[in-house]
Symmetry: C2
Subunit: 406 residues, 2 copies
């Protein structure tokens, strides 16, 4: 007997037939003698519909009222899922965030979970009851409903698994696991049986849509074994676990790319204290996320060139912000390139292997791909290249690191 | 300064434009210095959509989970209404049933309100805040969400007005008040400026769609002045008040008709104790609502003929139930007529006027309309006639009692 959390995302509960199929999977786990908590998202499309209603009512709106509206999506699903379970003979009841409660901060629209009360759920597990819990929502200390932000149901599921000390947290989604790279670009991409939290975290923050970044952080901090698997097929998916649980470590486990980047270069920026703050402070204030940053000293030593990336959709806004601070930070020239992509290799094995970066740069050089910017972390190397080389670069790296399937 | 409850039904909040229009009306009351609580229904069509989802998930479903699903309709509206109010500069916040709370019985799907906590609302009135409260929903003692049944938002509004000791409860709807009869049948129908609780109650239970029966009962018991008015025009509507507030009382204030009735006659029923219970008990058990009942003694005095009406949609089921008890209640013959209508006149003035029934019967006789069954109450006379005479009868009575507009 195990205690498990099963999380079904929007496409997995996208219509009533799919809710019934998910319910059947829950029944299988219950019949195997497991204690089960189910976490569900809103039916696919529903959150967008609700968000549109709020936008059309008032462009600038109270996020507390936004949360009242959008939290209804998950509420509908828990009621329907509980009915579907009861209909096939499974004892189940629904729980809204405020009912458990799932306590959160009061940052409406992107609240963080502070804790989940589980005594009542555990008591009811003892009576054979399945808990069907609304993902994405919680309760602030002031008694108002909060939501966790997009993809927050993953976080709800992992937090519930942590609070319940569950043996594992199954995330059912529309892909059947985590791949070495995007199978649409590399047909020989392989599904990984296991991946470490750290790698998953890098992949998630690089834009892999499989798991929300915060949910991976939470799983890592609480040691929750997360199993990413398909809602539609029975195959084993990918287990996200601690590094110790992975016996044979590859040097690189994933090649990923972040499209829709833009590169900004400021030439001849005065090289004195406070300049970086004077540039990146206003960008942060404007909610523009700056990613790769490199700084080169100019020939005369008194000025520097500064290059960094921003999301392509924010480029025009970023240029305006930078123009507005030109009076105080007197650079000579600003150039912008919206045609770049960040390609990264990720693997905890890098820590103990030398020469990973060299292999990467060689593989790209052999294809004639020019590297514009490089950044590294302990388990990741990222390069910025012209976006027309995206597929070529990803395929070359996938092969170079021995990731191609047989 | 007054304290008022403003209730907007489904068509009055049917889309975002209408929500904004309703918000503008709220603003007018706030600017006049009033303390305002707004009660809203689900956007029109939304409750039906949610009910369909539950039906398609499981034909026989847990009413507790049904309530979880359908309560979301009003939750969406309170969020949007609060945003719309804030957007035009009105301080407002939303309240779900569980947040106040609105305490109810635990009869899910048709719960009754037991009480509403209003201390916090009244405190916030003092700060100039408008309360936007979800109609139709509440909280049972076990912490689960309940709904009040169709049309329950009227009841929520009146109950809130009673709890707040509000000066009046404005019900905004898609008609502009209560009419002497159905204007589609009688173009000269008049809008009533005032009507008594008792008359409104009779009209509601006779099928007038303006107010839910329970809301009128509640208003009568707590002396809540209810003002029925249009959401779309500014005209005064109809005030539902105590009899004492109506100076010049008409003999009859309304002519109404209940279509879709069916008449059942059982001939030569043994005239002995327990027979009525043996017939009407099983019908009640089958959830068939029996309305007009008359019993005539037969020639020999040992048997009786029993005639009564049931909703037309229940006629086949009623016949089956009656057949099933024929062994114990040995009547000689059962006849059924699905082509009947109940036409009623209503007015508290009847109490002090004689000859009302006579005037009614004469008016019908003059048009050659045969009366099949008669029932009376203190402020109502109802007759059952062939349904082909519906319009003719309603018009004749409207004229006979001096209700035609000039």
């Amino acid at each position: 007997m195990a205690r498990i959390v099963m999380k079904f995302g929007g496409t997995s509960v996208g219509d009533i037939e799919r809710i019934k199929r998910a319910a059947a999977r829950v029944k299988t786990e219950v019949e195997a003698g497991n204690e089960v908590a189910v976490v569900v998202s809103a039916m696919s499309g529903e959150t967008n519909r609700l968000v549109d209603l709020t936008r059309n009512t008032a462009a600038m709106h109270d996020t507390r009222e936004y949360d009242v509206v959008v939290a209804t999506g998950e509420q509908v699903t828990i009621g329907l899922m509980s009915m579907a379970l009861q209909d096939i003979g499974v004892n189940a009841r629904s729980w809204m965030g405020w009912q458990l409660p799932v306590r959160t901060t009061d940052v409406h629209g992107s609240a963080r979970i502070l804790g989940i009360e589980t005594d009542e759920l555990i008591r009811r597990f003892g009576e054979g009851q399945v808990a069907v819990v609304a993902g994405f929502q919680g309760l602030a200390a002031n008694g108002r409903v909060t939501t966790l932000g997009r993809g927050g149901s993953d976080t709800s599921a992992v937090a519930l698994a942590a609070a319940l000390k569950a043996d594992r947290c199954n995330i059912y989604t529309d892909v059947d696991g985590v791949y070495t790279t995007d199978p649409r670009i590399v047909p020989r991409a392989r599904k990984l049986d296991r991946i470490t939290y750290e790698e998953m975290l890098e992949l998630a923050s690089l834009g892999a849509k499989v798991l929300q970044t915060r949910s991976v952080e939470l799983a890592m901090n609480h040691g929750v074994r997360v199993h990413v698997r398909s809602s539609f097929v029975e195959d084993e998916g990918t287990l996200v676990v601690d590094e110790e649980e992975i016996v044979e470590q590859q040097m690189v486990n994933g090649v990923t790319y972040a499209p829709n980047e833009a590169k900004v270069t400021l030439r001849n920026v005065p090289d004195r204290p406070g300049v970086s703050a004077g540039i990146f402070g206003p960008l942060a204030d404007a909610n523009i996320n700056v990613d790769m940053i490199v700084q080169n000293v100019s020939e005369d030593g008194s000025t520097t060139d500064l290059t960094f990336t921003v999301p392509r959709e924010n480029l025009d806004r970023a240029k305006k912000v930078l123009d507005s601070v030109r009076e105080t930070i007197a650079w000579s020239e600003m150039t912008a390139d919206p045609g770049v992509v960040k390609v990264s290799i990720v693997g905890v094995g890098m820590r103990s292997h030398v020469g990973v970066a060299k292999t990467m740069f060689q593989a790209l050089a052999e294809k004639g791909i020019n590297i514009q910017v490089i950044t590294t972390s302990e388990i990741k190397v990222s390069v910025l290249i012209a976006d027309e080389y995206t597929e070529l670069a990803v395929r070359a790296l996938h092969t170079a690191f021995g990731l191609d399937a047989d």
